[in-house]
């Protein structure tokens, strides 16, 4: 199995291309001092090429290479696809920020690419150590991205908090890796499964603790409660333009890794970990929904809502292999909604925007009907109203958990969804049903916001995806049904 000769560059093709692209951006930046347009071309080309290579992965036979480190399977490839898409949309959203950052604009592109590559590695790795590396590559990039706009103190605060807590979680994760190794002698996920299939672990304490720590490390990344505490601050403090990418990519990579580790590596402990995940899901859904209600800043609210959504995705994961389709579908459509929502936020707050208080959105429908309409749709989708992708995603998640016997969790989740309407609808209320407060300076009209440049396209794509997969979810569901880990 650990055949050193087996080197398949296809398996890491997208990551290599992203890295090369990042290098190209840096080099071009150093030597040519080009206009952002050139960066855009390079970035676009890189992402497209990575996508094409991922396409080849999709059609390739599942295999493992690099001594069992990296695999080609549709599971990983699907994650790669989604992450590339998220990166493309996220970068497009952040383009305003990239331009404003000047020299550091190129850096931000590089960081996005590196983060994407890291998360993709998390999804495609068959080895816990490799997953840790991917996690760290991605996390470190995100820490920097969080603080990239240095003119704002909040950005620094967000970056530092994210960094300290993230490192803590990483340490826990890697401790989990170490304990797994100590308990079983294996780091490869396939070996782990083999091990558990062959031996009966009489004293599973260490192994279970290790598993718990692996879960915790990844739960931190997906911002599942109670490991979510960093998320609101990081979401709020980071530049508006890039938050969407940060949140979305992390969710995809970490959930992919989590699903792979648990389903492929620890299938024999499914009843243990699924109870644990159910607990996390319940806490996440409850905490996320309740905390979101009191928020006055849209980004913070979205952060708490993403905590709840992490809970919903965990709910989907309870179904085990059968629930994976629900996980994928949820990730695919939720990340698009999330980026879409942040695209609106960055249009309103500015790409480097510090604050996004809800009061900025009062009467937005009259000033910026397109932005308001888009945000309203994303809110509706996130709250899970039918004919949007959000409903299908929730539905699939609930069905998965119900089938796995977690009826209580489904009931909790549906009720929490209702509570969720409360704050999602409040955004719509502000935008559509209230007039902006009278401007303090007489004659000062409330600002009009517009989706500029690429953001417009991001929004259109996000709207299309949200509606399309809400009405015709079949194709995507069929696609993700095949995305099982080796």
């Amino acid at each position: 199995m650990s055949d050193i000769v087996n080197v398949s560059y296809l398996a890491v093709g997208p990551e290599i291309i992203l890295t090369l692209g990042a290098v190209a951006v840096l080099l071009v930046d150093v030597f040519r001092k080009p206009s952002p347009r050139v960066h855009a071309w390079i970035a676009g080309f890189t992402l497209a090429l990575a996508g094409v290579v991922a396409g080849f992965q999709w059609t390739a036979e599942p295999s493992v290479s690099f001594s069992g480190m990296i695999s080609i399977d549709r599971f990983g490839t699907l994650a790669t696809f989604i992450i590339l898409g998220v990166a493309a949309l996220g970068l497009a959203t952040a383009w305003g920020m990239v331009e404003r950052l000047g020299r550091r604009g190129a850096e931000s592109i590089v960081l996005v690419f590196m983060a994407a590559a890291g998360f993709q590695l998390m999804a495609t790795s068959q080895n816990l150590m490799m997953i840790f590396l991917g996690l760290e590559i991605a996390s470190l990039s995100l820490y920097v991205l969080a603080g990239i706009s240095r003119e704002r103190v909040q950005a620094d605060e967000a970056a530092l908090k994210y960094f300290l807590l993230g490192s803590f979680a990483s340490a826990v994760f890697v401790y989990g890796v170490a304990l797994t190794f100590a308990g079983t002698g294996h780091l490869s996920i396939l070996d782990l499964r083999q091990f558990f299939a062959t031996y009966v672990v009489l004293r599973p304490g260490v192994t279970l603790a290790a598993m718990a720590m692996l879960i915790i490390g990844l739960a931190f990344k997906v911002s599942a409660a109670p490991f979510h505490v960093w998320a609101p601050d990081a979401y709020q403090g980071s530049p508006a333009g890039i938050v969407g990418f940060m949140a979305a990519a992390a969710k995809v990579g970490a959930f992919a890794a989590l699903a792979r580790i648990l389903i492929a590596g620890f299938p024999f402990y499914q009843d243990v970990w699924s109870d644990g995940l159910a607990l996390l899901a319940a806490i996440s859904i409850t905490v996320g929904m309740i905390m979101a209600i009191a928020q006055t800043d849209l980004r913070r609210m979205l952060a708490y809502s993403s905590v709840a959504h992490a809970g919903f995705i965990l709910t989907a994961l309870l179904g085990g292999p059968g629930g994976l389709a629900a996980v994928w579908f949820y990730l695919a459509v939720y990340t698009v909604q999330l980026i879409g929502a942040f695209a609106v936020v960055s249009s309103v707050a500015g790409p480097m925007g510090a604050q996004s208080p809800l009061s900025d959105y009062t009467g937005l429908a009259d000033r910026s009907p397109f932005l308001a309409g888009a945000l309203a749709l994303f809110m509706v989708a996130m709250s899970g109203v039918p004919l949007t992708s959000g409903f299908v995603a929730k539905f699939a998640a609930f069905a998965s958990a119900w089938a796995a016997g977690y009826e209580w969790l489904v009931i909790l989740a549906v009720l929490a969804s209702v509570a969720g309407f409360f704050f999602y609808l409040r955004v719509i209320v502000l935008m559509y049903m209230q007039e902006p407060a009278v401007a303090e300076a007489p004659g000062a009209a409330p600002a009009r916001f517009q989706a500029v440049g690429a953001v417009r396209w991001v929004l259109l794509i996000a709207i299309a995806v949200t509606l399309l997969f809400g009405i015709v979810p079949g194709p995507l569901l069929d696609l993700v049904r095949n995305a099982l880990p080796l």
């Binding site: 039918p386 409903f391 069905a399 119900w402 969804s417 309407f421 559509y432 049903m433 979810p473």
Partner: protein, 514 residues
């Protein structure tokens, strides 16, 4: 049936919404006329359906089934029976009327028309769905346009009302969603293929305990939508704050989703639980009848009065349904239509006077019959229909319900009958205070009577009220076979026996039982 008439019917309003949405934004004056014109298409389709519908057959007709997503067993499954047929006609009639009543909407007129059309599409979907997933999709998606209609174009406390409406009703359907999922998975365990299909669900085997839980989940969703006492408090707020078109659709059709759901799903899918739950629902229905009426009496706001009257009237429908007799069920269904027509018309009327005077307070009026005789005439006519005056539609439903429910629910029916008295009290007292006596408020002296547009709208509704009152057979002939099927199912699956009092063969006029 080759031509997918039902799909076309459901999709027409959505298409119309898109067309209106694409109208150029500088031609503001076009939105409403185009919207009204387009809303005649579904109307024409539903009338055509009504005409070609085979009477005497209780089963679903014009059935269409296309896979939506096969692995989940979700399909685009449409069908119409006598019960849904009438709801279609009612919906498609009320939409053009409620749009025509919205000429004073000046704020974001395009969105207004679009949301109304989306609402119509959703409603038609609800009534035609033969797939639980699909049903839920439409059932839930309706909240959004209605939320906007109330929240954007409503009056002062519109936001409170809109959110309350949305969350309250969404709360109910949340548990129903869990129930639907549970049923589909249960079906999957039993047959190997998950299915949300309504007709498949009829073959679902389940334990009595499960059936009770599922019944409760569905009943809660529908009871909130109806709304039944004590889950009704969203209704007065929503009705009062909504613009006229919103109130008309809300009272006219949206509430019927609840009673329709009870009939279509609770009775058919959970017959054993239904039979055992009758006392609970009957008690709540009867309380609703009396309570709604009692509360309506003292309302100082005309619209709120009509809103509470809905609580009372809907109680009759629920009572009729859970009486589990031919007469009660037929009455319940007819009453759904009747209430849609008469309460819809009442809200139109309140809207008309509100447009003129910008108040709905009863105390602000008085003697209006002097200055607006036509308006007074229509109001009285509609009020009488609502009271259940024989010869008008309301009577048919109430009479059938009361008589039908007495057979099985003696004391409930007796208490419910007092609602008939109270209805006269609140509506006629309101009429007296608003329309009779001299005009004592100078603001009312120069009011204009109805114009041609308003007369047309009300005239159409009035004509239907009269038609259904004088010749309800056109409705009953279509309803009865379908309601008989409901009873047949309950009889087949439980020990309950539908009583046919008298049992003298030649006098029970229901053809299905010959």
């Amino acid at each position: 049936m080759d031509f997918p008439i039902l799909s076309v019917l459901v999709l027409l309003p959505f298409a119309a919404a898109v067309i209106v949405g694409l109208l150029p934004s500088r031609r503001k004056e076009l939105y409403l006329p185009v919207g009204i014109a387009l809303s005649f298409l579904p109307l024409a389709a539903s009338i055509w359906l009504f005409a070609v519908f085979k009477t005497g057959e209780g089963a679903f007709q014009f059935v269409e089934k296309t896979t939506w997503y096969a692995p989940w067993g979700v399909s685009w499954h449409l069908g119409v029976d006598g019960i849904s047929l009438l709801m279609l006609v009612l919906t498609t009639i009320l939409v053009p009327i409620s749009l025509a009543a919205s000429t004073t909407i000046s704020k974001r007129p395009k969105q207004f028309v679009v949301f109304n059309l989306l609402l119509e599409g959703g409603l038609l979907g609800v009534f035609l769905s033969l797939d639980l997933f699909m049903f839920f999709v439409f059932f839930e998606v309706i909240l959004v346009p209605m939320y906007f209609i109330i929240g954007v174009w409503g009056s002062d406390r519109r936001i409170y009302a809109a959110i309350k409406f949305f969350i309250f009703t969404a709360f109910g359907s949340a548990l129903m969603l869990a129930g639907i999922i549970a049923m589909a998975l249960m079906y999957g365990r039993q047959t190997g293929q998950i299915s949300f299909d309504y007709l498949d669900m009829l073959n679902l085997q389940m334990s009595y305990q499960t059936e009770l839980w599922l019944f409760a989940a569905f009943a809660l969703a529908f009871a909130i939508k109806v709304p039944m006492f004590p889950l009704h408090t969203w209704l007065p707020d929503a009705h009062v704050e909504a613009p006229t078109a919103g109130s008309v659709m809300l009272a006219g059709v949206l509430l019927k989703m609840g009673t329709y759901g009870l009939l279509r799903f609770n009775l058919m899918l959970f017959p054993r639980a239904t039979v055992d739950a009758v006392p609970i629902l009957a008690v709540l229905a009867v309380i609703g009848i009396v309570y709604g009426a009692a509360v309506a009496i003292v309302q100082p706001d005309l619209k709120k009065l009509v809103a509470y009257s809905s609580v009372s009237h809907l109680g009759f429908i629920v009572l009729g349904i859970f009486a589990l007799t031919s007469q009660g069920l037929q009455g319940g269904v007819v009453q759904m239509i009747n209430h849609g027509l008469s309460t819809g018309a009442l809200f139109l009327l309140v809207g008309m006077i509100y447009e003129r005077r910008h108040t709905k307070k009863i105390a602000d009026f008085g003697g209006l019959a002097n200055v607006m005789p036509l308006y007074a005439g229509f109001f009285l006519f509609t009020a009488l229909a609502s009271i259940g005056l024989p010869g008008l539609n309301g009577f048919i439903g109430e009479f059938l319900v009361l008589i039908g429910s007495f057979v099985t629910l003696k004391w409930f029916a007796i208490v419910a009958a007092s609602g008939v008295v109270l209805a006269a009290v609140y509506l006629l007292w309101a009429y007296e205070r608003v329309f009779t006596g001299p005009v004592h408020n100078p603001a009312n002296e120069k009011l204009l009577d109805l114009n041609a547009r308003e007369i047309t709208m009300l005239g159409v509704l009035a004509a239907f009220m009269l038609l259904l009152g004088l010749y309800p057979k056109i409705a009953l002939d279509r309803i009865a076979p379908s309601t008989e099927l409901v009873l047949d199912r309950i009889e087949a699956t439980t020990t309950y026996e539908v009583p046919y009092p008298g049992r003298i063969a030649d006098i029970v006029g229901v053809s299905a039982h010959e």
